[in-house]
Symmetry: D2
């Protein structure tokens, strides 16, 4: 599911980059104010065609910079999506979670101070660089309002902000690909973490089942929550108390049969319709 | 030419907004983690269709925020283009230029301190508000990296930054339309300002003509510039000296006939191919 | 320690706000270009004194906007520090961590879909609003380069960005104070989580102790890491294997006495010099 | 007056940089979580003293990043002030203004297409680079909310955004100093431009004088504005009509004596109290 959501987001990122390229891949050889006063439009057409560019229908001494702002915004959106993926890796690699880890190069040492520790340093770097690319969008947006038919205030900034953003994003894509290609995932740990909540994750199903026994939603909610709260308190205090199911079984007002409880407390039940979502991913092409 | 360049830029702004709307007009009723665990996908399809939305192929508890970042970026690019137009109006309305002025409401008083003065206050306001909309793009880009399948950090910001940006941009479009509809333009002043340079604006044509007399480009450049510099110095010192043409006529090395000089110093000559550009505008539809 | 680091950061935020207020609390009644051409400087002095403002030594029609940019930057830095605190709360309140939770109002219901769940929604909101305040700094920085002796492009933006930032920051401070005043902390859970690493957090002490037995640092590192890796693999695979200490005890090359191991595996040993840090906090005044 | 306003703004920029340096010039050798668990605080004190740093009263594995955000904000404010100065140069160097020009290197050629033209390319570059430094403030603000006691997401960004900002700002200061040291100013042109308004700049003094003849402010305003409007229309249409003074002299309701008119239409009268402002500048030290 997580990989799938990233795939769709990356597809959108790709579409944005393609749309931006089309808008920016424009050429102009139309003279200082764009009137072709000393040059035949044929020259522009000819040269642009050779370069794979579309002639600008109306240019001045420079191309309008909203074109480049769109490019920077597309880069920034792509960077934000990579940040989003990297953030997930960082969350899953926390010492208290450890459901996934970015690749650990063979022979790579841990921190010298803490030999056991593996920090998601590459994912952290991707998150950091995303800040740079996102902030550069601001620069490109500030470049749009040039004075008269020219002013070269944008020129120096593009050599810094635009160039850096392409470089940084390329680097980020490379690193993110390396992370995802070699991502270590721990299914048993995922299931283990799932049960750390001692069954609380099924509370919404308990609610529905209780309502189906004929009591009101409000009554059901009270039952669901009073038992949930006790389990939560045990977790907060690191006490090994009864699970949520055991507490419900002991609650005389929670009239649920063993069959119903078996069905409720089955995590696979959440995935009944997952193929619907996976099927759609088959149609995704880059 | 100026209006034409704005028209193309606004068309691009419109396209971006339409593309962004398509990406954002998405709906999701797929459960807390997007697996339709307790709801049939048909419901999502049915409701989205009624609302004119496309169902998200893979959602979590929330829609991915790169969609909204694209919307904010499209708003920011549009704001930057309006800023660009407003900047031109401000430049043309300077006391030393006065080639155009934003509308002055009948009965509107000038500043109480300076009764004669008409400042381009509406264009200035548009420029200012563009800063707000552009900065809000940053907020939307920061909203993309949500934690796990949900986190509502984006929610409060969208009520401020996204809402404000739509409101501000709508206001800016309204004001800019008012400015352009009622823009006062002064053709005689434009021509007057053109001649303030005393013919220097034709220097590139002088250069070409001199080269055609058989001297090298370097020799021609020396002649062009030494005469141009003298005219420029007169302008710098507010001295009423000879025009550029008169200086060239007095320069024995500048061997240009009267016919050539007449042709060179004709501003309309710059516009020979202008229809090419205007013709293209005919194809522009919003 | 965490609270202490926040205290120092908030103190720095306060200092910045005070410095910015001093720079911004400036007044000017000096005429349209700041030469007091039609008003005696005494008036400015007199009025400013009444208002608690310092007269600007040289103003134009408006006060220079770097003063206001400094204010916005101080607000943005303060917002970033609040974001930093809120981020910690969010991290500690994750389902897999639960070492602290923001206050849960008596009678407050959990999510309707997931009755057991308590999300750090207030801390998330603070993080979100920080994005708004930080982005507004950009607006204030863009307001500095006004044209000539006046231009009112800044005016509209300040009514939005500056006003919103004060309001948002005030709200964020209020919410953060509420969170910290009522923050629920779970010491037993903290200790429990500490031991989830099965002793790995002491690896740096093991390294030092091994070196003191006379072997080289490289040899020691190998011993430390090969045992640490096995423990880590158990964690990754949710396997209940031997603890780090037990593995070291079983490793013939790890020649550490029981006394040494007792000392190493004592978490309180990390806190020997903590009073040094707490003592310094006593000197902190707001 | 312009130079004076820049001097005060630059002084404020200097103060901000000094304050930021003091906050950032901090050192920490306090161990992985800042408790000095394996190192005596004396070491930190000793080393920091040698390096001219203040020991952080409470650090974690890294120094809190609000310190660096303050530095970046100070750089951004300084960049905005340089942008403000450069903007003035660009405004004054417009073809229709030419009251000042940035230095033109001896032997420097103008544009090859337009040999006469001198664009304020250095001032434009300063304005452009200011956008880069201002946007980088956003990056530093985003770096504040690090996770737990460490995360190195800030590290890569600081090598880009912080380093680039120092470099760019240093470059901008160098260029701006070069511009201001060699700035060409044209006093005769300034006076010439002043009179282009044909006396309208004195309208506020006319208003005051008329009121002193015993008519109401409203009546005076009507007289002032109807004559001003006619002059303005002449300017708009590039018509050489009567000056504002001549029109007032011809208006029977504008009962102003020759002595009064002489006094009103004297530009030096605006500068009567200018020394007050210049005197204050004497106290300014960097």
């Amino acid at each position: 599911m997580k990989f799938g959501s990233w795939a769709w987001a990356l597809k959108r990122a790709q579409t944005r980059l393609e749309q931006a390229r089309e808008v920016a891949a424009t050429g102009a050889i139309s003279g200082a104010v764009g009137t072709y006063s000393s040059i035949d439009p044929f020259v522009e057409q000819y040269v642009c065609e050779k370069l794979g560019l579309t002639p600008d229908p109306l240019s001045t001494q420079v191309l309008a910079r909203d074109r480049h702002a769109q490019v920077m915004c597309a880069l920034a959106c792509a960077a934000a999506t990579l940040e989003s993926i990297a953030m997930q890796v960082r969350l899953l690699q926390q010492s208290d979670v450890i459901e996934a880890e970015e690749p650990f190069k063979k022979g790579q040492k841990g921190s010298s101070a803490m030999p056991h520790k593996r920090n998601p340093i590459t994912a952290e770097r991707v998150c950091g660089l995303a800040r740079v690319v996102k902030a550069n969008a601001q620069v490109a947006l500030d470049n749009v309002a040039l004075w008269y038919e020219r002013d070269i205030s944008h020129s120096g900034t593009e050599r810094v902000a635009l160039a850096d953003s392409f470089t940084a994003l390329d680097y980020m894509f490379g690193k993110m690909q390396w992370i995802l290609d070699g991502l270590q995932t721990y299914p048993d740990k995922m299931e283990h973490n799932l049960w750390r909540t001692r069954g609380l994750i099924f509370s919404s199903k308990v609610l529905l089942a209780l309502v189906q026994t004929g009591i009101t939603r409000e009554e059901a909610y009270v039952i669901v929550q009073r038992n949930a709260m006790k389990v939560w308190e045990d977790i907060q205090n690191a006490v090994e108390g009864p699970t949520y199911r055991e507490r419900l079984e002991a609650d005389p007002e929670a009239k649920l049969t063993k069959e119903t409880l078996d069905e409720i407390f089955d995590p696979w039940d959440f995935l009944t319709r997952k193929d619907e979502v996976f099927k759609r991913l088959e149609g995704l092409e880059f």
